[in-house]
Symmetry: C2
Subunit: 293 residues, 2 copies
């Protein structure tokens, strides 16, 4: 028998459960911030495997470890399809990562970012510098207001709009509706592009179908692009790509891509096109809404 | 105060933990089989979200829900790159799913399957018919023996070899070594192809590099193909594609693909090529070993 005292160590995990039948979790070192805004709960956790992790309403939003994937793919496919994107609108994206990637493109003159929840922005400013570094950028115009109202009222026109929203529960629900997409269409220049958070192909196919149906009735070109990350349920995740004129496959801006020579960790010119190749189960379910890509 | 008796319901989950910092889990209804063979533990669970699930040494191997993804991608990329695959060797793959997909190709004359652990085969025969249905196929030659020994000794030659192994711990360790790959090379016809379970790009990059280094010293053509499933850690998973002659991008057998007109749920002709487009972090880490694809 040993005389040594066994000190129990607290094992803290945060898990996200999907439809009650699957879950994925991250080991937690400690909570850095926990708040409740007018719109949602906001948590930032420190973790040994993923660095800082942001959760809204208990769902994983961003982690230091893999945020580059989501932010590369929401921004650069559109930015290297449009031949000359100068004015960009980011809706949501309160952590800052999407605007950060937009503003790496030297031709961008202004990035307007409309985030409804100041608590998310402030929590990220305090605890997640890897994405919130963008809030000091001189070309960023950050507005804390409801994007639904903003796109209904603004007179500005944009080349690219990126909808970096949470899921269609809580504050983001109207961002999955037809009025919103009609207003996005109206806010775009004649050759504009909208990329939107497009949910899980494995767990949220009905939401995908509903969103694609709405967008396909408004935009002449529509595709779905996939990517794989660690933060979202099932790993495989998607964006919708809606466009008035340009096709990501036919209009890839290879010259500018080469000239800019930006360093990415996920996106590259092969991924730019390959991300639109959908597994057959997605093509079977969503194919009727896809066009012109 | 209510008089009703609250009956607690057992909540049973099975989780797989990755390097102690992340985990993913599946809700369990009940255990259908639990055994310990000479090589590993073997469990079959019934689950509400994934149907039957097989675990070896506590790691998720196969689920009813998403087994089609892994089995499509290990088999059909190779089968539709080789112009006329008649003799196929499956190493491991004790659930039967890989051999099942091989034998959907009408031109195949024989599929030899060498699985070391009869307990896996028998557990799947009893509980996982969706994959084990193949064990009644007249063109299947199932051998319960050590594949390391088999490929060192056989005089047979194959067009395609599929290494459907567990991770490089336990019985599968020698399947990640240079002697084994030299023997695979020797067992292949002059224009043969080997596809092997290639581990997690997110969690096992060192294993990937080690395996690619070994294969690149033996085979003239080498690529990595990605796919996304629900059963393996992080969702994103890979196969290595080693070839003596044919390139999956240049030698895609589109005519036969169209003529066969097989119905797939994951694989299709776009995925056949797009799966070789690697995220930049993989290209940076593995690119020096890739060639001729």
């Amino acid at each position: 028998m040993q005389n040594e005292k066994q000190v129990p160590v607290m094992q803290m995990w945060v898990d996200e459960t999907h439809h009650g039948v699957a879950r994925h979790g991250i080991k937690v070192t400690k909570s850095l911030f926990s708040g409740k805004s007018e719109f949602q709960t906001v948590d930032v956790l420190d973790t040994p495997g993923f660095g800082k992790v942001l959760l809204n309403d208990g769902l994983f939003m961003v982690s230091d470890r893999d945020e580059f994937i989501y932010h590369d793919m929401i921004a650069h496919v559109a930015m290297y399809t449009h031949p000359n994107p100068k004015n960009v609108l980011v809706i949501g994206g309160g952590d800052g990562g999407t605007a950060r990637e937009v503003l790496r493109h030297p031709g961008v003159e202004e990035c307007v970012m409309v985030e409804i929840d100041e608590m998310v922005v402030n929590a990220c400013k305090e605890h997640i510098p890897v994405t919130s570094v963008v809030f000091d950028h001189p070309k960023l115009d950050l507005k804390i207001e409801d994007a639904v109202k903003y796109v209904a009222e603004t007179n500005k026109k944009f080349d690219v709009i990126l909808v970096d929203s949470t899921d269609p529960i809580g504050p983001a629900t109207p961002l999955f509706g037809p009025e919103f997409y009609q207003n996005l269409y109206n806010c775009l220049n004649e050759d504009g592009i909208v990329v939107s958070q497009g949910e899980s192909p494995f767990f949220e196919q009905e939401t995908q179908i509903s969103l694609l149906k709405i967008i396909s009735e408004i935009f002449p070109k529509l595709g779905v692009l996939n990517f794989s990350n660690l933060t979202y349920p099932g790993g495989l995740w998607s964006f919708t790509f809606a466009s008035k004129k340009y096709s990501p496959l036919k209009d890839f801006q290879e010259d500018r891509y080469k000239k800019d020579n930006l360093k990415f960790k996920y996106y590259n010119k092969e991924i730019h096109k390959a991300c639109f190749a959908l597994p057959q189960f997605m093509r079977d379910a969503l194919g009727e809404y896809l066009k012109g890509i």
